[in-house]
Structures are given as structure tokens and as C-alpha cells.
């Protein structure tokens, strides 16, 4: 060792093992320089939100070690939000459930074999159904599993096990859009392509905050080359509102009044496309007569906007060449949510902003496969967007599955809220919860606690055994996660993308698909195996089921084509091209091929602010690093680090001053239903008399009024009168 080497080793160590541990090398394919020398990559669609970003998982020696967004994918072109970047952490977490758990009389859990667990499932279901009838069992599923799994669960339970009732957590996010589209267009068909975000010259976001909730969609807006007008209608001055050219800070739940007011101005000013209306819509005359009765002074009082602001909005919509409308939970979660969504659809129809690039009445979906659930969960619609009540549809489905049509219930399931009511009333006794956490997420957690004691048997199937819901289970079934299974998910722009296995489920956990198949075997349901032997076989079945429907994707050449194309948008019927944007031909799905104007009188929320509860509590996502009830995102140390640890409430600074509340103070929020204590954050993002609390904290929903939209039965998470006071 010469002096130089000695100095390098002991005096000034410019290199060594620690330095080398961060050394990066060119990875496989186009991932660029990466740490850890991965030798293989696998592409798959993200399993958090509905944007449908594609991710490239890097593997080293067969194990997933890293991940980066797919650089050449049309949806995300190399970008992802923090959840996407951290999608592996929840999968690889040591908190994963590894074996079935059976509740013991003492209240604790013991692990069991699959044989014992599924035997118990079988015996308890038979027992309940024998005592209380076939219909006394129900399921609550999710927008988080693959389409194949949803269809298998829906078929197995309803055609095999005699269930009539079963709904999904998509009721909490997308039911409104589904019902609105069905009524307006004749089929649940979001017409958009993400390209529309780049093509519009006027973008109107209503109750949507993509900067935080769908960051990769906002990326498309930033890339819009037309210097677009971006109008954000939201009670809060959200990040999206701050990035907009115009923000209309409406009073919570005044959206429907505002939309009708805008429609009236469009009619009065003649800023409508009569030709389009004539050719492609029905009931416009009735709608026109209705909106002409709208009192504009009342619209301004209700919405808190000035005449000029409302007129300006109408003018922007009326004068835009390519106007697109985008909405999310601000619209979907309200007491007149479906009407509000249709209020938006009406504006697009009457101005002819449909079917052309940069136009459309576009709902942005929530969960990664809510769109799959809307078509194939077999809950309130029969598989493939069919109708339980339609005999022809039942025949078709029965033929494809090779079952007796009589096995198919003749009516749709009752919605989520009514399933819970039926449990409370003692009519449903067996509940199977798959991949969702209602004990936290349901709008009325008190009700969840009440129904728990009413159930004879609660089965919870999830990837973690420690969720709030799983803790209350009689039987817990450990499921394989995203990244451990194969299947298809459908994103907001109707794009079918592939989920691929990059990891094996831990312990003896099995994919949801395999769990469903095993249960089918337990009950000797041989036909299930025929149509759902493997995910690929199940996908074929789904293709058959979609044939002839607006969502027809029978023309896709199997999984291979989906993977090769970076996803395929429906419809893609046999022998036809995939359709990027719906209704280019102006042909809708009602029998008369026309879209329908749907409208009703505006009504106020059932529970209004009062001297006792003078503030309106708004809820929503807090940060882009948090997902829903946090069961997955809280397992990533880096996501957790980026998320506020404790529940906080956003209060307007002037309001804070009036109430003697300072930044960082503890404040008590009270509603008719409960109370909580949160940290005060003073911010101009909320107006006086309104406060905002993120939904990721378990205490929040106890405060909310269990109010539902009458048509979609979606809960209204966005309007609860509360009081606030500082704690000293």
C-alpha cells in the first residue's frame, strides 16, 4: 500500500462501500440509470386511482426491487404521482396477511388452513341461508380488484350461491356518474379521451381537484398548447383552482342551481347549438322551458357568485370552440348528485360540445377499476352493462356462462345503504366484504358498528388483516395484492390495461380470483370453472358478455394486444378499430339514438346550517401521498412521511381570528352526529363559514350526516353543518 492508497483508505476516503451502494447503472430497457442492478422489468397498470398510469416494476433475481413509471405509455409518459412511485411498498409490507384468521370465542383470532377457513365459510353460509333464506347473504366489494375477479365474484355469488344483494364501494364514488350517463346517454359511457385535456380551448372543472387527486391528468392540462381558459368551480381555492385562469368559489352544494342558471343564460343569449340539439337530443324544449323559469337572483344568492361571474361562465362556455367539462367527487357526492352531473351533461349537449376533440361531459373516475366494476361487478347491473330485469339479457348471459337462466335474479341488487339497512333490520345476516374498509370509509360509521352485532357472520377478504373492518370479522381471508395477480383494469377513458404478477402473495395468501374459484369448488359449482378457469379465460368470457353492448370489446386480441398497445379503449368490437372518443357520430345509446336532457327542481340539502351548527364541513383527499383510508399508503414509510400525521382542519384565517383560533391550535368540531378534535391550519383555501377536513382519518365520518342522492344512492360526503371552537 503506497501513501496515496493509505490516504484514500484511512485519511480521505473518497470512495468505498457506502459510496458504491448508491452507484447507479443503466437498467434493462429504457429505465435509464437505476440503483441495485435490476435484470428484468414487468409493466403493469397502477392499482390506486383511475388515471391508469402504467408502471415498470424492476426485478432483481426474480424479486421486485424498484419501480419507475412507463416512459412510453400514452397515459402517463414516464410520470406518476407519489402513490404510483411507491406502489410496491404496500405489496412488500411485512404487515401483509399471510394466512386465514378465524375469530375465537375469546374475541382473538387464530390462524387456520384454507381448508378449515373455507369449510367454515361454507358451513356458516349454508346455515344462515337455511335459517333465513337464500337472500339473507350479501357481499360488499370494491373498485380495487381486477375486472375478471369482479365478474367472478358477482357470478359466483348471484348465480351460484343464491345472493340477490351485493354492491361495491364504487357506490361511494362513481354511482352518480353511472346513473347520470345511463339516463342521459342510454348507457354508462364516459365519452372522454385524455387527449381532450390537451385539445380544449375551454376547460371547466367542477368539484374536481386533479392537481392533488389525479396529478397525471393535470399534466395533460399543462401540456395543452391552446392557451386554454381553465375555469374551476369549487368552494375551495384548491391547487387546481390556483392553477386555473378563473376560480368560481361557489357555496357548497349550489352547483345544480348554478348549472341551471348557466343553461338559462345560454338559452337566452342563443349560445346554443340548435342543429346539434335537434339532431341528437330529446326533451330539450321541456328543459328550455324549465330553465327559463329559473330566478337568476336566486342563483346568485345560492351560489354566492355575482351576476357577472355567472354570465361570464356562460359566455366562456357559449363562445368556446372546444369546451370540455370535468367533474369528480364534488359533484358525485351530493344530495342531488345525479341531477348535477346531468346539469353538466346538459350544458355539453346544448352547446354541441360532444364527440369532437377537446369537448365532452367527462367524469373523472376514482378507483383504479371503478370502471370495471360499473360494467362487470354484477351488482346493480347484470354482467357487461346488461339489465337484470331484461329477460333477453338474462338469457344471453346464461347462455354464455352455460347456466340455467332461472339462476339469474330478476332484479338488480339494492344499493349499499339499503344493504346496511337490511342488515340492521335483521334481514341480511351473512356479509362478505372484499377489498374495502367500510368501518372507516362508510358515511355512517356508527351504523357500521351497529350492524356488526346484527350479523351472524362477517367475512372480510383483504390484503391486510389489521384494517378496521378486518378486525371485526368472524373470518378473515388473506388475499393477493395488486402486483400479485393477472387481469384487466379499466381507467377513466375506458382504457383496458393489464395488471401483471411481479411478486407472490405472502404465506398462504391467494389471489382474490383463486379464493373465489376455491369457494366455487366448495359449493360444487362446476360451471364456474368453465367460464373462469383462469384470468385469461375469464377475460374471454367478459369479451363474449360485452359483445353487442356499447362497451363491446370483443375485438381485442386477448391480453397480448392490451399489453402491446399500452391498453385498449372500449368499444373495440370485432373487426373494428378502438374508439378514442365516444359520440363522434352523434349516435347515443337510447333506442332513439338520442341523448336526453334530464332535470328536476333544485332542493336544498336536508340538513342546513343553523345558529347551532353555522359552518359547512367539506371533505376530500388531503394530499397526493394518501389514498382513501390509508390501509395501503400508510405502509410506505416515504408516503407516510409526506402525509400529515394527525387529523387537521383547514380554517379561513379571518374566520380563525373571529374564533380566536391560531395556527396549530387544537379545535373541537361538532355536528349533530358526533365530535372530533383536530389541529387548526389557517388557509385562504377555504372560505369563511366553511371548513375542510381530509377523509383519511377515521374520526371524520362519524360527524357526517348520512345523506344520499335519491337516484344513485351515493352518499353526500361534502356537506355537513358543524360548529367549531378552540380547545384551551
Amino acid at each position: 500500500m503506497n501513501i496515496k492508497e493509505f490516504a484514500q483508505k484511512f485519511i480521505r476516503q473518497t470512495d468505498g462501500p457506502l459510496t458504491q451502494s448508491l452507484h447507479k447503472k443503466a437498467g434493462p430497457g429504457d429505465v435509464g440509470l437505476v440503483p441495485g442492478a435490476p435484470d428484468q422489468t414487468v409493466s403493469l397498470v397502477c392499482g390506486f386511482c383511475s388515471t391508469g398510469c402504467n408502471l415498470k416494476v424492476m426485478k432483481t433475481g426474480g424479486e421486485p426491487t424498484n419501480l419507475s413509471p412507463e416512459k412510453t405509455h400514452p397515459v402517463n409518459s414516464g410520470k406518476a404521482c407519489p402513490k404510483g412511485w411507491q406502489a410496491l411498498a404496500p405489496v412488500l409490507s411485512t404487515d401483509r396477511a399471510t394466512a386465514p384468521l378465524i375469530k375465537e370465542p375469546s374475541g382473538g383470532f387464530r390462524t387456520s388452513s384454507w381448508d378449515e377457513a373455507l369449510g367454515l365459510f361454507h358451513d356458516e353460509l349454508i346455515k344462515t341461508q337455511d335459517q333465513s333464506g337464500k337472500g339473507s347473504a350479501a357481499f360488499l366489494s370494491t373498485g380495487q380488484i381486477t375486472t375478471e375477479e369482479m365478474a367472478l365474484l358477482g357470478s359466483l355469488t348471484k348465480f351460484g350461491l343464491g345472493f340477490v344483494e351485493g354492491d361495491g364501494n364504487t357506490r361511494q364514488c362513481m354511482a352518480t356518474s353511472a346513473v347520470a350517463y345511463k339516463q342521459s346517454f342510454g348507457f354508462d359511457a364516459p365519452p372522454l379521451s385524455y387527449e381532450d385535456l390537451k385539445e380544449s380551448d375551454v376547460l371547466v372543472f367542477i368539484g374536481a381537484n386533479p392537481c392533488i387527486n389525479h396529478p397525471i391528468l393535470w399534466k395533460h392540462v399543462v401540456a395543452n398548447p391552446h392557451d386554454p381558459k381553465i375555469i374551476v368551480i369549487d368552494p375551495r381555492f384548491t391547487k387546481t383552482a390556483q392553477g386555473a385562469t378563473e376560480h368560481l368559489p361557489i357555496t357548497p352544494k349550489s352547483d345544480l342551481a348554478l348549472l341551471y342558471g348557466v343553461a338559462k343564460i345560454l338559452v337566452e343569449q342563443g349560445w346554443i347549438d340548435l342543429e346539434y340539439i335537434e339532431a341528437h337530443t330529446t326533451e330539450f324544449d321541456e328543459f328550455r322551458d324549465f330553465v327559463l323559469t329559473i330566478d337568476m337572483d336566486q342563483v346568485c344568492i345560492d351560489s354566492g357568485l355575482s351576476q357577472d361571474e355567472v354570465f361570464g361562465l356562460a359566455k366562456s362556455i357559449g363562445s368556446g370552440e372546444r369546451v370540455s367539462f370535468w367533474w369528480t367527487m364534488g359533484i358525485n357526492q351530493g344530495h342531488q348528485a345525479v341531477l348535477s352531473a346531468q346539469g353538466i351533461i346538459n350544458l355539453a349537449l346544448m352547446t354541441g360540445n360532444m364527440g369532437r376533440p377537446g369537448t365532452g361531459a367527462n367524469s373523472i373516475t376514482g378507483q383504479c377499476n371503478a370502471m370495471g366494476s360499473r360494467l362487470f361487478s354484477n351488482t346493480t347491473g347484470l354482467l357487461g352493462g346488461h339489465d337484470f330485469a331484461d329477460e333477453m339479457h338474462r338469457e344471453k348471459v346464461a347462455t354464455i356462462l352455460g347456466i340455467d337462466p332461472a339462476l339469474i335474479p330478476q332484479r338488480a341488487s339494492i344499493p349499499y345503504d339499503q344493504i346496511l339497512s337490511e342488515i340492521e333490520a335483521g334481514n341480511i345476516k351473512f356479509l362478505w366484504v372484499v377489498a374495502t374498509n367500510p368501518a372507516h370509509s362508510w358515511i355512517d360509521p356508527d351504523q357500521w358498528e351497529r350492524i356488526r352485532s346484527k350479523l351472524d357472520f362477517l367475512v372480510v377478504q383483504d390484503i391486510y388483516g389489521d384494517t378496521l373492518t378486518a378486525k371485526g370479522a368472524d373470518l378473515f381471508l388473506p388475499a393477493g395484492s395488486w402486483g400479485e395477480k393477472e387481469g384487466v383494469m379499466i381507467n377513466s377513458e375506458r382504457r383496458l390495461s393489464k395488471v401483471n404478477p411481479v411478486h407472490e402473495a405472502p404465506g398462504i395468501a391467494k389471489t382474490d380470483f383463486d379464493i373465489f374459484l376455491e369457494i366455487a369448488n366448495r359449493f360444487n359449482l362446476g360451471w364456474v370453472e368453465k367460464s373462469f378457469a383462469t384470468p385469461a379465460k375469464a377475460f374471454e368470457t367478459l369479451q363474449h358478455l360485452s359483445t353487442g353492448q356499447p362497451c363491446d370489446f370483443s375485438g381485442i386480441e386477448g391480453y397480448r394486444e392490451i399489453e402491446a398497445q399500452g391498453g385498449v379503449q372500449w368499444p373495440k368490437a370485432k373487426g373494428k378499430e378502438a374508439v378514442k372518443r365516444l359520440f363522434a357520430d352523434g349516435v347515443y345509446y337510447h333506442p332513439d339514438q338520442k341523448a336526453q336532457f334530464c332535470f328536476e327542481q333544485v332542493t336544498p340539502p336536508p340538513y342546513l346550517t343553523s345558529p347551532l351548527y353555522p359552518f359547512v364541513l367539506l371533505t376530500g383527499r388531503g394530499s397526493s401521498s394518501q389514498w382513501h383510508t390509508g390501509t395501503r399508503t400508510d405502509r410506505s414509510p416515504i408516503l407516510k412521511r409526506m402525509s400529515p400525521k394527525k387529523i387537521y382542519v383547514e380554517i379561513n384565517p379571518e374566520q380563525g381570528q373571529l374564533l380566536s383560533i391560531q395556527e396549530g391550535d387544537r379545535v373541537q368540531i361538532k355536528s349533530r352526529n358526533g365530535l372530533l378534535v383536530a389541529w387548526a391550519v389557517l388557509t385562504q383555501q377555504v372560505k369563511a363559514l366553511e371548513i375542510f377536513i381530509p377523509m383519511h382519518y377515521g374520526e371524520l365520518n362519524f360527524l357526517l350526516d348520512p345523506v344520499f342522492d335519491g337516484l344513485s344512492h351515493q352518499p353526500s360526503y361534502k356537506y355537513t353543518p358543524v360548529s367549531i371552537e378552540p380547545l384551551r
Partner: protein
């Protein structure tokens, strides 16, 4: 993708790479934070980038701001590092950390007003952003650039003089721009913003127990050494002083992530007060030990008494090193940007600790009437220090509201123990001892009481040593 044409141009002499952040485009999605984590292969909680929020005082704005190392013109991490484990690349201007050179002293964390160096407990070292040097070299985008959906982050090349002339810093909470001359270019930020304070801001800092002990013990040792010159029990007191000093130095190594590399800590002597502290105490302790050894040898008649003059010189030189050591301790905290440590907190407090503990121990060791002057020294030093501390902690201008709320909240108990301890054992008990001089148990109690009060003071010193930082508030 690796594409030379898309990368920034190579800096010319006088230029350097800088982060350019378009704040109008940043939406606070934090993709950059996770991209940095994934693409650099960092530990589970580690990312070199973070995103905070600033709120405007007037007008509506909630400005997300992404931040990492600012690759300063005059990096405080670099000048403070005792092992020269930081280099500012002469070609690119990137401030790089030499992970294998790091001994894990974390002094750079105290020096950096932007929280750029991150402590990695599992590795025992600090790591930080190197602007993805390896990627820049081949024209590939940095991890954070790859992570930003909206192209808000880019790498620019700027003339260092232009950066210096432009100066200014749009981030009101962080330290003044002049402190380190950060180079990140924040574009499009409106003036008049304040940062959002979430609960994180109310958390006390780490206590650094080994450092608390090291400071107290070394100061006690030097104080005792100095006072021993005036007392006939000099040899015994100096022996105790040496033992104390060595314990202090041993204690300090428990603070290090890599104590086996601690010998490198002298390398930064030219610029680092931490290196200077290490060097001075490194000279003081062996020198003092040598003196004590010589003293015993002479006392036992094994060495010629004629060496006594030499010994006296040695003892004073050792004392000089010790004093410099205490001064360097104070300077190393005082030269950080942490508000509490600026001014007199350390510069006065550390010598005061030496005087108080030295005199208290010397008196308790031989509580004679002839030693009562020690009690007067003790009362004067402890009470003047106490007054200064009360003044700092209770005057409106003394502490920031956050520090005061900590002192009145979670840290109230420690503050009470410090101040009542100093009052009771620094005034009440010495007064009693003036009346009843030779009460050995009471004088011992006095020393231990003061030792405890000093430990509480030093504990609070670290817990309240909260530095400036880039905006926090991780909420969307």
C-alpha cells in the same frame, strides 16, 4: 432517457449547475420526492427532496415549494465538516458528500439552514442530494426532473457572479440568502408569503445525550482545572479533572455514527470549529493527564522536584488548551444558523458552566471556611447566568413564539428544574453554607444539584436548538 441533447450544457469556468424551479407549475404532487427515493435507491424513509407549502398573508395563495440541496456557493455543511467529507465540484458546482469519509457527527445538519443533509441512522452517516451527478454526466434527467409531471424542475447553468449579484431568496422562513448563498432559482414566486405551520413545527429537536454529557463534562473539567491553581488540593482536583475530561471525550464518541473513523475529525481544522474543538480537547486531555502523572511522580519522589517549574508551565498550557476547547465548543454552536445558539447562549453559558461546576466541586471537595470565596464565585456566576437565561426565555424578543410555546408546554418541566436548580443550589444553599461552612453533605448536595441543573440546561439547549428550514406543511 439518456439523451445528450436534452441535458443541460456543461458549465464553463465561473458557472455551475443550479436547480431551476418554476413555482407556477409546481402543484405540490410530491412526485419528485418519491422519484428521488426510488431512482437513487434510498432507505425506506429517505428522500433528498421534500415539498412544503407557503401561505400568503395577503391575497389567496397556497404555494407548494419543492426543495432539496441548494448546492450553495458557500456551503455551510462543507465549511463545518470536521472530516472534509464535503466537496464542491470545481467543474459543476455540485456539493457532494463523501459517504465513506463521513464519521456521522451530524454537524452539517446543524449548519445547513435547508435540511439538505439527512441523517441515516441505519448507516450511521449523513447523505444528501448530489444533483444526480451520474445522470447529468450522461445527459439524463435528474430523478426529481423525471418525477415532476409538469416539468417544474430543471437543471440550469448559471454564472456564479450572477447568482451572487442577484442574491435574494424568496423563501422567508429559511436563513438569509447571504448565509450560504444557495443557488436554486425559484421562479415565479409572489412576495409576501408566510409558511404554513403544521404540528411538525412544534416538535422539539433531538436531545443528543452524548453531546450533553460531553459538553458538561469537558466544561466541568476545564473549570475545575482552572480553579485548582488557587487551592492546595491541586493534585487531587486535577486528577478528578482529567478523569472527567476523558469521560467527556469518550461520551462524545457515542454520538458518532462511525466512532472508528473519529480520528479523522481534525482534518477540517482550517474552517471547522468542530475540528478545532476536537484538536483543543485532544491536546488538553493528554496534556492534563501528563501533568497529573508528572505531579504524582514528583510527589512520590520518583522524579526530580526541579521539574516543578516545567510542570507549572505545562499545567497552564493545558489550561489554555482547555479554555480554547470550551471556546471552540461554544463557537461551533454559535456559528450555526440556529436562533437560540446565536449571541450569548453558548459563548457565555459554556464558560459559566465551567466556573459554576468547577467552583462548586472544589468547595464540596474541601468545604473550609478559607474556601468561602468559591461560594462567592459560584453565587455570582450562577445567578448572573440564571438572570440571563430568564431574560432570554421570558422577554418577548428573547425567543420565537414556537420556542416559547415549547418552553411553556412540553419542555416546561425541564426549564423549571434548570432555573429552580440554579436558584436553590446556586444561591440559597451557598448562602446557608456561608453560615455553616463545613457541612460536607450539604456542599456535596449543592454540587450535584448544580450538575443536574446544568444537564437540564444543556438538554434544553439541544431541544430548543431548532433551525431555520424550508417550508413544511405536507398537506395538499
Amino acid at each position: 432517457m439518456a439523451d445528450q441533447t436534452t441535458g443541460p450544457s456543461i458549465p464553463k469556468p465561473g458557472e455551475q449547475y443550479v436547480f431551476e424551479v418554476d413555482l407556477n407549475t409546481c402543484t405540490g404532487c410530491k412526485g419528485c420526492v418519491t422519484a428521488c427515493h426510488n431512482l437513487n435507491g434510498l432507505k425506506p424513509e429517505e428522500s433528498w427532496r421534500s415539498v412544503g407549502v407557503m401561505e400568503s398573508i395577503s391575497g389567496k395563495l397556497s404555494q407548494s415549494i419543492t426543495t432539496s440541496c441548494h448546492h450553495c456557493l458557500d456551503p455551510a455543511c462543507l465549511s463545518g465538516c470536521p472530516t472534509i467529507a464535503y466537496v464542491k465540484d470545481p467543474l459543476t458546482g455540485v456539493v457532494r458528500h463523501l459517504d465513506d469519509q463521513c464519521i456521522g457527527c451530524q454537524y452539517c445538519i446543524l449548519r445547513c439552514p435547508y435540511e439538505a443533509p439527512k441523517w441515516i441512522p441505519s448507516l450511521g452517516i449523513v447523505r444528501k442530494c448530489d444533483m444526480c451527478t451520474e445522470r447529468l454526466e450522461i445527459g439524463e434527467e435528474t430523478a426529481c426532473q423525471q418525477g415532476c409531471p409538469n416539468g417544474a424542475i430543471s437543471i440550469g447553468v448559471r454564472d456564479k457572479r450572477d447568482i451572487a449579484i442577484q442574491g435574494g431568496w424568496p423563501v422567508p422562513v429559511a436563513a438569509p440568502w447571504e448565509y450560504t448563498s444557495p443557488t436554486t432559482q425559484y421562479l415565479g414566486l409572489s412576495a409576501g408569503t408566510k409558511t404554513r405551520e403544521l404540528e411538525e413545527h412544534y416538535e422539539p429537536e433531538k436531545a443528543h445525550l452524548p453531546l450533553v454529557l460531553m459538553l458538561i463534562l469537558t466544561q466541568f473539567s476545564v473549570g475545575l482545572w482552572g480553579i485548582s491553581f488557587f487551592l492546595e488540593e491541586m493534585k487531587l482536583l486535577q486528577t478528578i479533572s482529567v478523569v472527567t475530561a476523558l469521560s467527556g471525550l469518550v461520551s462524545s464518541t457515542f454520538h458518532l455514527g462511525h466512532p472508528e473513523k473519529a480520528y479523522r475529525a481534525f482534518l477540517g481544522f482550517r474552517t471547522s470549529w468542530l475540528s478545532r474543538e476536537v484538536v483543543f480537547f485532544g491536546l488538553y486531555a493528554p496534556m492534563a493527564a501528563g501533568c497529573v502523572g508528572a505531579d504524582w511522580l514528583i510527589g512520590n519522589g520518583w522524579v526530580e522536584p526541579s521539574y516543578l517549574t516545567g510542570l507549572l508551565v505545562g499545567q497552564w498550557v493545558a489550561f489554555g488548551f482547555g479554555m480554547f476547547g470550551v471556546f471552540a465548543s461554544a463557537k461551533l454552536y454559535q456559528t450555526t444558523p440556529r436562533p437560540l445558539w446565536k449571541g450569548s447562549k453558548a459563548l457565555l453559558g459554556f464558560p459559566m458552566t465551567a466556573l459554576i461546576l468547577g467552583s462548586a466541586f472544589a468547595y464540596s471537595y474541601s468545604p473550609l471556611e478559607s474556601h468561602q470565596w468559591l461560594l462567592w464565585v459560584l453565587m455570582a456566576s450562577s445567578q448572573s447566568w440564571l438572570l440571563l437565561e430568564i431574560r432570554r426565555n421570558h422577554r418577548p424578543k428573547g425567543l420565537s413564539p414556537q420556542l416559547r410555546s415549547l418552553l411553556q408546554g412540553p419542555l416546561k418541566g425541564e426549564w423549571n428544574l434548570q432555573r429552580y436548580g440554579l436558584f436553590v443550589f446556586g444561591l440559597v444553599v451557598p448562602c446557608l453554607l456561608l453560615g455553616y461552612p463545613d457541612s460536607a453533605p450539604v456542599s456535596s448536595l449543592m454540587f450535584y444539584g448544580l450538575l443536574a441543573a446544568c444537564v437540564f440546561e444543556r438538554h434544553l439547549f439541544f431541544k430548543l436548538g431548532i433551525g431555520p428550514r424550508m417550508p413544511k406543511g405536507e398537506a395538499g
